[in-house]
Subunit: 270 residues, 2 copies
């Protein structure tokens, strides 16, 4: 990447239109949906995006951060990225953290993320239905990446492009297919087409113990809202109902942890 364009112009005003848009992308889901773009902040996330060939459209970098990261940036061929150098003060102002690293990016939604299309035959997927907490969403995406799932599908859940979600995925959002805002009927249809059995995760001692569940043909595990679980009309539509039998306090399994354990069992049969 040729960074010579930086020699000279430094934006200092929060009223600069690009800076203003970035600020809105940080705080407003509506703006993210309208522009089909989401914001990134921090050295690790921005470089994870570049390494993964994510559709990065713009990078904002402070003068100090440019000095520190110039060599690393020059390793990438990013001819389609707009670079904008900003003052350190402006960096502090647009940051969502207490102590900014001074590097920000604007990334397009991937085309695929909003359309389920064809799933992998007998693939292995986690489906989050009405999941609300951004920290949980991020941790689930991160764990799915580690365990090697074929993808994570969100339906009626929190916005996966919320900066909190993105931050807590630790870059996994760029490494594993993540689908969002998918109507639940489309999910059942796509799973059926790909010959993937559907499993409803429930808290119900009559459901099948996940320890004894055979995922040899892959599977799509549906997990519901943190407080309420899956609505009956969704769990009834799934082929199987599965549960984590607990010896201790059943209230004590957080949604991300329960999903992690279920994904672990799903992947054991690979």
């Amino acid at each position: 990447m040729n960074l010579s364009c930086f020699d000279g112009k430094v934006i200092t005003s929060k009223d600069n239109p690009s800076v203003k848009l970035f600020g809105k992308l940080m705080t407003s889901k509506k703006t993210r949906m309208q522009y089909r773009m989401f914001p990134l902040e921090g050295v690790r996330l921005v470089f994870d995006a570049l390494k993964s060939n994510a559709p990065v459209r713009r990078i904002f970098i402070t003068e100090s951060a440019l000095e520190k990261n110039r060599e690393k940036l020059e390793e990438f061929d990013c001819s389609e990225i707009d670079f904008t150098c900003i003052s350190d003060e402006l960096g502090d102002r647009i940051s969502g953290t207490d102590k900014t690293q001074g590097i920000f990016a604007q990334c397009s939604f991937t085309e695929r993320s909003e359309e389920l299309g064809n799933l992998k035959k007998h693939g292995r997927y986690a489906v989050l239905y009405q999941l609300q907490d951004p920290g949980n969403a991020g941790m689930i995406i991160r764990t799915a990446d580690a365990l090697g799932l074929d993808g994570v599908i969100f339906s009626e859940s929190c916005d996966i492009y919320n900066p909190k979600v993105i931050r807590s995925t630790m870059g996994s959002i760029f490494r594993i297919p993540v689908f969002h805002d998918i109507p639940v009927d489309d999910i059942f249809l796509a799973m059926n087409n790909a010959e993937i059995d559907t499993y409803a995760a429930v808290v119900d001692s009559r459901a099948q113990d996940i320890k004894n569940t055979d995922f040899n043909n892959g599977g799509g595990i549906f997990i519901g809202n943190e407080g309420n679980g899956l609505p009956t009309e969704i769990s009834e539509k799934c082929t199987y109902k599965i549960t984590i039998k607990m010896s201790g306090n059943t209230d004590s399994l957080n949604a991300a942890m329960a999903t992690g354990i279920m994904m672990w069992e799903l992947m054991k049969f690979e």
Copy 2:
């Protein structure tokens, strides 16, 4: 509980000695260690402590919170608890949250928590060595409670009485034995006495796959620091080395999630 003592005196000053001590317990590990006490905040946590007969020594309650919770409080026999009514303004001031529920408690360390003593023969324990993140510590305690472990042991790790840890345990800290600041040699000795095999969790493809590990005789699983894992001198002391074989990005398994999956495998043999 007789709450008639409340009719009258309301503390409004942040310079009141009890209020001052509580404030210090919220922020200083040193003060917590010195007084062997830790602070609680919030309706759920305080009532979890009362329900679990935790050694609660003092409750601060704001005038508004008293009105809302009087009936619930009267269900408990807490003759040994000092009650202090404080103004709503003072409640806002001592709170560690943005929007306080106005109920706070001061709880003693349980005698047991600082001494390992006898472990359960062939018991099942998680051992956290040099774990640093309070959110991870809390989630591990919470998951251990759900899965029914015999206890969680911390050595050279973050302070389990940090309000962030306590909050993220969601009350599990009162339901499962948690030991803290235990010298690692004492842990090996106690495990040996209780005939518990020790397992070092490592990221090493030559280690035994946890999927194929037989925990029929119980086990103590040692997990290390978030960034560095277990030091060699600790993993070498364990009877076995075990690992989570990953198909995806190995960086992507957070310490709490990895510990959760390992505890799940440990408990499957119960």
